[in-house]
């Protein structure tokens, strides 16, 4: 039977670094994808994701298990990604590689869901529309879409109520829908 996150956390708190390594391997990809969704820069996202785990490691003694480990971890990572994005907006030249490049590569290999010209336009429009969202709207869209998290967990991660998550998601989708009207 798989050891629970909480058991691993307690081992970390007792100073077992290998238990933390196990937690990292469980969540590295998920955390990276969420950060990448927010930053759209692969190298920066890798860096922020690793930094987020490091911060979690430093703070793990203070984790009491009131929420699940992953919402706690996501909270750290999302806050760091949001901070990084604010810096990114101030210094856009530091972040040249963007999501478009990342997506080109991914779609060459994966089954391309945007196979025809119309769909390729939809994808390009969608990327631009996501980029135009406020960071709060982007965060709910990504946590819901990438992770399929329930509103309650998204609220815990972002430090807001379920109702706020619901209304942010509604407005974010509305904005995307309006911008992509021609493609939907």
């Amino acid at each position: 039977m798989e050891v629970s996150d909480w058991d691993l956390v307690q081992k970390c708190q007792a100073g077992e670094t290998s238990a933390f390594q196990e937690l990292v391997s469980r969540y590295q990809q998920k955390i990276f994808m969420v950060v990448l969704g927010l930053l759209r820069d692969r190298e920066a996202s890798m860096d922020v994701a690793q930094e987020a785990f490091f911060r979690a490691y430093r703070k793990i003694k203070g984790f009491k298990g009131g929420s699940s480990f992953y919402t706690w971890l996501y909270r750290i990572a999302v806050n760091m990604a949001i901070d990084a994005q604010r810096r990114q907006k101030r210094n856009p030249l530091d972040f040249r590689e963007n999501m478009d490049g990342v997506l080109e590569e991914q779609n060459e290999v994966e089954k391309d869901p945007f196979s025809n010209a119309h769909d390729k336009e939809l994808r390009a429009g969608l990327i631009a529309a996501i980029n135009d969202l406020t960071v709060e709207h982007k965060a709910v869209i990504i946590l819901r879409t990438v992770e399929g998290l329930p509103y309650k967990d998204i609220g815990e991660i972002l430090g807001c109520s379920e109702g706020t998550v619901m209304s942010r998601l509604h407005y974010a989708r509305k904005k995307l829908q309006v911008k992509l009207k021609a493609f939907l």
Partner: protein, 182 residues
């Protein structure tokens, strides 16, 4: 009917996410069965959701996580090294010969503060008056001294740290607080 449709459309997203109460979800479902306009809204939202998934979820295929842990581990180790460095530095600092150099630094800061006090609080008793000033202060038991010379015309301050070559005890120190003429 328009008002009703608006109300339903505001909730279609949450309904798709399975986040409505049982009765709320039932209300949306029943309405959708009989309202083509809201069904179209649902279709658009579903297409949007599918496109978002395609863009955001499928991970870039060539991202390798092989070195991910080593990146985290490096940060952890760097922190340890930093901690050790810092405490080592504090330890070194608190051994007498090194600590001695903190003393002149503090004396210099205090003297400079007194000089600048005069410009901010002209009447202050603590402030050094507008005239020339010289002081020599022994700062520790290792024969080190600090000399401060202040020439008021040109507002030049010379601070001079030096160590007695002979190394004899100068623990009492001598203070020439007079205003010498340079």
């Amino acid at each position: 009917m328009i008002k009703r449709c608006e109300d339903i459309r505001d909730r279609i997203g949450a309904w798709m996410d399975g986040e409505l109460s049982r009765s709320g979800a039932e209300e949306v479902r029943v309405h959708l069965e009989s309202c083509p306009a809201c069904c179209e809204e649902r279709r658009q939202l579903e297409k949007l959701q599918a496109s978002l998934k395609a863009v955001l979820v499928a991970g870039p295929s060539n991202v390798s996580f092989e070195r991910f842990w080593s990146g985290v581990e490096q940060r952890i180790n760097r922190q340890r090294v930093w901690h050790e460095d810092f405490f080592g530095w504090v330890r070194d600092l608190s051994t007498p010969p090194q600590l001695a150099w903190l003393v002149p630094a503090v004396i210099i800061l205090v003297l400079m503060g007194m000089f600048s006090l005069e410009s901010f609080f002209p009447g202050s008793r603590l402030a050094v008056r507008r005239n020339n000033f010289a002081a020599v202060e022994s700062i520790d038991g290792f024969g080190r001294n600090v000399a401060v010379l202040r020439e008021n015309e040109t507002k030049t301050t010379i601070i001079w740290l030096y160590q007695n070559q002979e190394g004899e005890n100068e623990s009492t120190g001598e203070k020439s607080d007079a205003s010498p003429s340079f």
